[in-house]
């Protein structure tokens, strides 16, 4: 299970990254604490490395996460030091791009937020009932009515930090603090695809049927992952997400 995603600070944490081998065929670029802005930096770095890959065939597709980027490489085709050198220049160019975006006026940042809001991915959800068997338990734990939980969950705007864990699974930042809930004591063996769940400071949509210990509050018919689509994953890192309650 993924760990909590902590609410981020808006400032970009441009700590100097570290470059460490992981195993004999991987390089891990790590930086700063796991805040939302670090996830955006990981995406920018991974994109810069990916863009440079045609010129470095020994380097594999990078996997960005919360505050790190994993870069696979063929250690018999390129020395670790040379891999670090190549990747370091991609990091410099990604950070320069991020810094120039940051130096814009606050108005620009607000405009960015507005644009993200306008293009929010909307996910229609049937809350409660058989689709969200833990909704009442969650409400009781939080001292709220089930309708309040739905209202809070659906009124918040979430940000896709990165994808991982399962095909099309998005780590979403931005759960209202009033909805922070412990996991279930005993995990379920099978959670149906499309289930919307919360646990800790996080919410998610299960793209596939799988086991899990999160609190299940609703379900969507939206397909989160389809390998035959041009864009297989619905959730794009950096995108804004809104859950829309369906009438029952």
């Amino acid at each position: 299970m993924p760990e909590f995603v902590r609410p981020g600070s808006p400032a970009l944490p441009l700590d100097a990254p570290t470059f460490e081998p992981i195993g004999d065929a991987g390089l891990l670029i790590s930086f700063g604490p796991a805040v939302d802005a670090a996830a955006a930096r990981a995406q920018a770095i991974a994109a810069a490395i990916d863009q440079a890959r045609p010129g470095m065939p020994a380097v594999g597709r990078p996997v960005p996460a919360h505050a790190s980027v994993l870069v696979p490489f063929d250690p018999l085709s390129i020395a670790l030091e040379d891999a670090i050198g190549l990747v370091r220049s991609a990091v410099v160019s990604a950070d320069a791009t991020l810094a120039s975006a940051e130096t814009g006026a606050d108005a620009d940042v607000v405009a960015d937020e507005d644009r993200a809001a306008a293009t929010a991915i909307e996910i229609p959800v049937r809350y409660g009932g058989a689709d969200g068997p833990d909704l009442e338990t969650v409400a009781e734990l939080l001292g709220l009515r089930p309708a309040d939980v739905v209202e809070l969950h659906a009124s918040a705007r979430y940000r896709v930090l990165f994808l991982g864990f399962a095909p099309g699974f998005g780590y979403l930042g931005g759960l209202p603090t009033a909805l922070v809930t412990p996991r279930r004591d005993s995990p379920r063996e099978r959670i149906p695809a499309g289930t919307v769940a919360i646990a800790g400071e996080q919410t998610c949509v299960y793209p596939l049927a799988m086991p899990g210990g999160w609190q299940l509050i609703g379900r969507t018919d939206t397909i989160l992952f389809d390998p035959d689509r041009p864009e297989p994953a619905l959730l794009r890192p950096g995108a804004s997400v809104r859950f829309v309650p369906l009438g029952r």
Binding site: D24, A25, R61, P64, A65, G164, P207
Partner: protein, 340 residues
């Protein structure tokens, strides 16, 4: 051109179509997939004149029963664990070589061997031209978790058909060849581990590998393509725990807070949130794929130089083996039979 080769009579415990895997989609959370023992994938393919990365059948502990459907028979390449392959009512087929099968013969892979214990976990069967399956996200491998690739993303079952991707003019019958293994005949062309098996591991990023290398481990019953749980005494407190979610490589030795390590396999999740005390070296990923539930295993800490020397050794052995197969058959004959 596709050519029907087998009718599946029984699917076996977990038989899937796998190739060299899906390397470009970790950023969307897609598992790498591919053969759990990549060395045996290559050997099985080379034995029938294929590209080492072509799609094969990966069989787990108990293999399928299949009837030969092609009118002229065919040659198969077998590698990896010896799961007792035989012709029904007839001859034994050992791994590490290719075998000609006649039309109508039934190939059985029962999972046990007369007069000695089976070793290893996974056997690989290659057919000339490779197994026909659609390419999904760059690979024919089966992704069991998300149900795509291979045969509709699932394991083989009775009633399925297996077909070969044959180039125009290529034949399903190829020369019968033996994989040259100068080191150990018992390996049959696959890295079937002796007991206890040793996984060589490069330490880090989290500390603790040295402690764990001194401990005795057993492969748990929770061992599948996603990962292998190691049973033994719990790792001392302070080593395991949660960590910031990061990209995970195949072979990562994760230690959760309960102190029970998990070594990630070919179908591992692209990211994970447990501490990683080390990663199995690339040269030993085939051994990881052959660990049988219940078997003893040791972790040995090695440095990067040793890891790369071992990987270089494996690549050289593959090149040398390929050259020896060429010499045995005459490269021209192999090219001819491949339709090239």
């Amino acid at each position: 051109m596709t050519s029907p080769v087998f009718d599946v009579l029984e699917g076996g415990l977990l038989t899937t179509i796998q190739d060299a895997g899906r390397r470009e989609w970790g950023h969307l959370g897609v598992p790498e997939s591919g053969a759990a023992d990549p060395w045996s994938l290559a050997v099985a393919n080379l034995l029938v004149g294929n590209d080492p990365a072509d799609a094969v059948l990966e069989m787990t502990l108990v293999g399928p029963s299949v009837a030969v459907r092609s009118d002229a028979g065919l040659t198969i390449g077998l590698a990896g664990a010896d799961l007792g392959a035989r012709i029904r009512g007839g001859r034994r087929l050992v791994p590490g070589r290719s075998h000609r099968l006649a039309p109508g013969e039934v190939l059985e892979i029962p999972g046990d061997i007369p007069n000695r214990p089976a070793t290893g976990c996974r056997a690989y069967l290659a057919i000339p031209g490779g197994i026909d399956a659609p390419i999904v996200l760059g690979s024919r491998s089966t992704c069991l978790a998300a149900g795509f690739g291979g045969l509709d993303g699932r394991a083989l079952r009775a009633g399925d058909e297996i077909a070969a991707r044959l180039a125009a003019g290529a034949r399903l019958n190829r020369p019968e060849l033996v994989w040259p293994d100068p080191d150990d005949a018992e390996w049959f062309g696959g890295p079937v581990p002796v007991t206890p098996a040793t996984l060589r591991v490069v330490a880090g990023p989290a500390p603790g590998l040295d402690t764990m290398a001194g401990m005795a481990w057993q492969v748990g019953s929770a061992a599948d393509r996603v990962g292998v749980r190691l049973d033994g005494e719990a790792v001392p407190e302070g080593i395991g725990g949660e960590a910031t979610t990061q990209g995970m490589p195949w072979g990562a030795v994760q230690v959760p807070a309960d102190g029970r390590p998990i070594v990630l396999g070919a179908d591992h999740q692209s990211t994970g949130g447990y501490r990683v005390v080390g990663v199995v070296i690339s040269a030993d990923l085939p051994v990881l794929g052959q660990l049988r539930p219940g078997s003893a295993v040791r972790l040995e800490a090695v440095d990067r130089t040793a890891a790369l020397a071992a990987l270089r050794g494996r690549r050289e052995a593959l090149v040398a083996g390929t050259a020896a197969l060429r010499d045995a058959v005459g490269w021209g004959a192999l090219i001819d039979s491949a339709g090239g």
